[in-house]
């Protein structure tokens, strides 16, 4: 039986990792599997403590590595469990084999990526390179800006994943160091109201390993002829459709969250001071706070700048982003990771694709690698470069923000 202690008052002061752990408790998961890695470790320690204290009535499996973390939870999900784990960086890389398989099995799992830059050079600090490296695997990826958004989004993630039109795993991404260890006030929703919001878990209606419903899970398909390849193609197409379906579901779930709990987070893309904006920044994750301050300062100086924060990154909300950016003269996209194939940031590539029908010039800025701080000053430089682009309208090189810090 799950039991969540109702804290009084409803405010707690915690860091991002603890906020995620509170969300998992409120979602009354059946099983967590854990393996520590910086900067995720305190998150799984909080979970272990919640379980040891009887605050969360879940099974905990302390496994021997991230590969087994996800494998244990796949087994549990196929048996009908609501599950949770978190990882990042090298741990996510080690997990990749079962990670790659999860969306194909249409398992509605929720996993936090406490984003971290990837090796090498050796680094244990924040950055989006880990999550970006798995952006095409088929997991839904949602990025958080602040602590409250972590808690609320992690709970919402279960309803999104388990929606029958979706049935896909969700990564809730929060920035290593910046969000994992930043401390602030978080409002805890009422446990019974969260239970009502999430409803009954129904995670293996479509695929199960259950002696009462014997079936072969994942038999061999494909090949050069016969029914195999067609079966595979229809399956893949359905998987892509599930991703597209999630866009509407994410909006619907956020709207219902706002109705029930009074907190509205923009589900796909948040438009900040975009009315009459001529320049726009595009951001992802915790950098958005500093970016908004920079926008405010620019506005105070009389520059017509706005910001679009991408919250749902996979599937990419191309239509929504294009709509928000449509009126501007130039766009600067800030990434905390790189695309090695294109010498720019991956969010920049996605933005270009979303803007392909327009003739708005855009530029790529890369900052915040390996824990580097993207300050208001850095964003001021971005705005300056964006203004220049709007004027010249000629292609500009990728701007590396922390190169000479």
């Amino acid at each position: 039986m799950n039991a969540v202690l109702q804290p009084k008052p409803n405010y707690i002061v915690c860091d991002g990792n603890e906020a995620a752990a509170w969300a998992v408790s409120l979602a009354q998961v059946d099983m967590v599997a854990v393996y520590p890695i910086t900067p995720q470790s305190s998150l799984v320690e909080y979970l272990a403590k919640f379980i040891a204290d009887g605050r969360l009535g879940a099974e905990i499996v302390d496994v021997e590595g991230e590969h087994s973390v996800l494998s244990v939870l796949q087994g549990a999900t196929l048996a009908g469990a609501r599950t949770y784990t978190a990882s990042c960086g090298p741990g996510l890389a080690f997990m990749f084999e079962p990670y790659m398989r999860t969306p194909g099995m249409r398992l509605p799992m929720v996993m936090t990526i406490v984003t971290r830059d990837t090796l090498t050079p050796q680094s244990v600090w924040g950055g989006h390179q880990d999550a970006m490296s798995v952006r095409e695997v088929g997991w839904i990826q949602i990025y958080c800006e602040n602590l409250q958004e972590i808690l609320d989004t992690t709970i919402m993630a279960y309803r999104i994943a388990e929606h029958h039109d979706v049935m896909l795993p969700v990564n809730v991404c929060h920035d290593g160091n910046y969000l994992s260890f930043a401390t602030g006030r978080v409002e805890l929703p009422d446990a019974a109201e969260v239970a009502a919001f999430l409803g009954q878990r129904d995670v293996n209606w479509h695929v199960a390993l259950d002696p009462d419903r014997p079936m072969a899970v994942d038999p061999l398909t494909g090949g050069a002829g016969g029914p195999g390849p067609a079966l595979f193609v229809r399956y893949r197409k359905g998987q892509c459709q599930g991703m597209q379906n999630s866009l509407a579901v994410i909006e619907e779930v956020h709207a219902d969250w706002a109705r029930r709990f009074g907190r509205h987070h923009a589900p796909l893309v948040e438009a900040y001071r975009m009315d009459d904006a001529e320049l726009a920044l595009v951001t992802l994750g915790s950098m958005t706070g500093a970016a908004k301050d920079a926008v405010d300062e620019a506005r105070a100086r009389g520059q017509k700048v706005g910001l679009a924060k991408v919250k749902t990154y996979r599937p990419f909300p191309a239509k929504k982003l294009a709509e928000i950016l449509a009126p501007v003269k130039a766009v600067a996209v800030v990434d905390r990771s790189v695309s090695f194939g294109w010498n720019c940031g991956p969010l920049y590539q996605d933005t270009l694709a979303a803007l392909q029908a327009s003739n708005i010039p855009a530029m790529s800025c890369i900052g915040g690698l390996a824990g580097a701080d993207i300050t208001i000053t850095h964003f001021a430089r971005v705005i300056e470069a964006c203004a220049e682009l709007a004027e010249k309208r000629s292609p500009v090189d990728t701007l590396w923000l922390n190169e000479h810090d």
């Binding site: 099983m31 496994v63 590969h67 087994s68 079936m215 072969a216 899970v217 994942d218 061999l220 079966l231």
Partner: protein
């Protein structure tokens, strides 16, 4: 052809009372126990049986110059015809079991005739044994017993000709029963259709392909969740040696260390046979495989095999055993022990399974190769529990020469004299190691006797 009735002897139940010998002597009008046609012989701290085995290929019949001995095709009993016997006693030399001997009082050879059991119900010796050490059974009993259970694999699995993995799969799953979730990581087992193709299933229980790497972890999640819900079921793996000892070892070791309640069966055919006979860490020294080929500079695998069951024993699992399809009764007993142990801890059963295709021997020789592996001590049959430690299931007084086993397979065809010396030395070392773990030979424990009952 129906199965023959036979007298089976269970030495661990015999207390040496010799009532069977008295009963035989009385029925046959012999002078006493000394002339009984069944002889119980004390050997070390156990007992052995000297008696006619009613052999399928009887040497006594073959050596008889007078055709006085003949095997009855209906009953299987070898009969002696006094009218034809010329008292040459060649049969007593031909028999390896002391089953036909000269009786001075009678003036000719005598042997067990099974007391015409069709009339008597059971031979007199069996009726006289109140310990259950002598049993009157049909020789195919174990197969028939398992055959009464539902076959949970579909017909028409597509293994290689002569492969005995299908035997292991069908009989193991029959024994475990339908309340099972079965994991078959990539390899020969799903390769022959256990998980099905294109939406069709190969089994009647829930079955899945885990990754080659995560079998024990996926089963952990399944079992833990059902246990949490209070549902009884068996989480079972049928894995190859590659998925067990190589890339799957980390998750297996983790699950064993945590004592997960899993029944993990490794079907060891000493390599990646499904993908074309590549080397695994279970491949023995000197063996040809497609990645340890034989040529000017290569002479098969240049390292000894990883001793997987010993590694699992060192995890202090609830149960670990080795078994062979050459000794099915032993295999069934261990399967039962493993199933029971998987209800409270990690149970690991390592079954040696010769591969007709990859080991290069004729498809009809599979069981014979399996038997030779055990009789040469190349494969040692044992079981382990934390309580009883390691027990040898079939200790050999005298192992057969290793070359009999090596010569039975094409994969060893190229071996040099030095390589054979290496294999013999490694084998001797392993035998000494396992025997040391087993300690001095002891009668079966009460617990083992109870399990056998």
């Amino acid at each position: 052809m129906s199965a023959y009735a036979t007298i089976a002897f269970k030495p661990d139940r015999c207390n040496g009372c010799n009532e069977c010998m008295s009963a035989c002597a009385a029925v046959k009008g012999s002078a006493g126990q000394i002339d009984s046609r069944i002889q119980i012989v004390a050997a070390n701290d156990s007992f052995e049986l000297a008696m006619c085995r009613q052999c399928g290929d009887p040497k006594c019949v073959a050596v008889c110059p007078a055709a006085a001995l003949a095997k009855n095709e209906g009953s299987g009993v070898i009969s002696w015809d006094g009218g034809k016997c010329v008292n040459c006693l060649l049969c007593t030399v031909g028999c390896a079991y002391g089953g036909i001997v000269h009786n001075a009082a009678a003036g000719h050879v005598v042997k067990c005739d099974m007391c015409d059991a069709a009339v008597a119900g059971a031979p007199a010796c069996v009726k006289a044994c109140d310990q259950g050490a002598l049993q009157f059974i049909t020789s195919a009993r174990i197969y028939n017993e398992v055959g009464d259970l539902e076959d949970l694999f579909v017909p028409g699995l597509s293994g290689c000709q002569g492969c005995n993995t299908e035997l292991i799969m069908r009989h193991a799953l029959r024994r475990v029963g339908p309340e099972t979730v079965l994991a078959t990581p990539p390899g020969c087992i799903p390769g022959m259709g256990a998980v099905g193709y294109n939406g069709l299933t190969g089994t009647k229980v829930p079955v899945f392909h885990p990754l080659l790497t995560n079998t024990a972890s996926m089963l952990t999640g399944i079992k833990r969740h059902y246990k949490r819900q209070g549902r009884e079921m068996t989480a079972m793996a049928l894995a190859g040696d590659g998925g067990t000892s190589d890339v799957g070892f980390q998750s297996l070791s983790g699950a064993a260390e945590r004592g997960e309640e899993i029944l993990f069966i490794c079907v060891d055919n000493e390599g990646y046979m499904n993908t074309g006979m590549q080397r695994s860490s279970c491949t023995p020294y000197g063996a040809w495989t497609s990645t340890t080929p034989v040529g000017e500079r290569g002479q098969g695998k240049s390292q000894d095999a990883k001793n997987m069951p010993v590694l699992m024993m060192m995890h202090n699992c609830a149960y670990v055993a080795t078994a062979s399809t050459g000794f099915m009764e032993d295999l069934y007993a261990k399967l039962d022990h493993a199933i029971a142990a998987s209800k409270h801890g990690f149970a690991y059963l390592h079954i040696y399974s010769p591969c007709t295709t990859g080991w290069r021997f004729p498809s009809q020789d599979n069981i014979e190769v399996a038997r030779k592996a055990v009789e040469t001590n190349f494969v040692m049959l044992w079981e382990f529990t934390p309580e009883a430690g390691l027990t040898l299931s079939r200790p050999l007084d005298q192992a057969r020469p290793l070359t009999e086993y090596l010569k039975a397979q094409g994969k060893y065809r190229h071996l040099s004299a030095e390589q054979i010396v290496h294999i013999e030395a490694s084998l001797a070392k392993n035998v000494a190691f396992i025997e040391k773990l087993a300690g001095p030979r002891k009668p079966a424990t009460a617990q083992q006797a109870a399990v056998r009952a």
